[in-house]
Symmetry: C2
Subunit: 108 residues, 2 copies
């Protein structure tokens, strides 16, 4: 398999409900991950983009979190509806989506 041009990590960390820290899983990260896989399939971009689920990426308060390497751009509070924008603008046209980026307080 080729090394991807863009590698997307989607946090799918779960936690017990009573845990003091929120989790991306409690904020619908699975449907975010599924939406990335759907776009990957629809666009047949397997040679260019790789999507991988991940454990905790850090800023749980601002989840669901999505991290794109090699540039190391992290997105926060990502909704299913945001995935098309990230895919089209960032993954396919190399223009990270400013309005969805994690603030520097949490990643920078």
């Amino acid at each position: 398999m080729p090394k991807p041009e863009k590698h997307v990590f989607v946090c799918t960390q779960d936690r017990p409900r009573w845990h003091p820290r929120p989790s991306c899983s409690a904020k619908n990260c699975v449907e975010v991950a599924e939406e990335f896989y759907k776009h990957l399939q629809d666009k047949q971009l397997f040679d260019k983009v790789q999507v991988t689920t991940a454990g905790c990426l850090g800023p749980c308060l601002k989840g669901p979190t999505v991290l794109v390497y090699p540039e190391g751009v992290m997105y926060g509070s990502v909704k299913k509806e945001d995935v098309a924008t990230i895919f089209d603008e960032h993954l396919q046209n190399d223009k990270p989506v400013d309005r969805l980026m994690m603030s520097k307080e949490f990643w920078g």
Copy 2:
């Protein structure tokens, strides 16, 4: 939290025993991940290195797999005993460990 200089993803994918594809989990990836966390803790390198577990990274036949960004270097068949080398040579001194790298057939 700071954006890390090196972000290590350790595959911890599991699969049922009857599944035709091997998994990193069946090849002791959890102790590899634990060893990375142990070194991170011992060296107190939280500002420079981040370690995250990940779902399937692709080359299951050559697991356990470990992927380091931003350079996108993948290691294969990683053993607990290899972690100190990867940590010292690559993560702390920016010299990827050639002998542990995934072959270009699987990642290149």
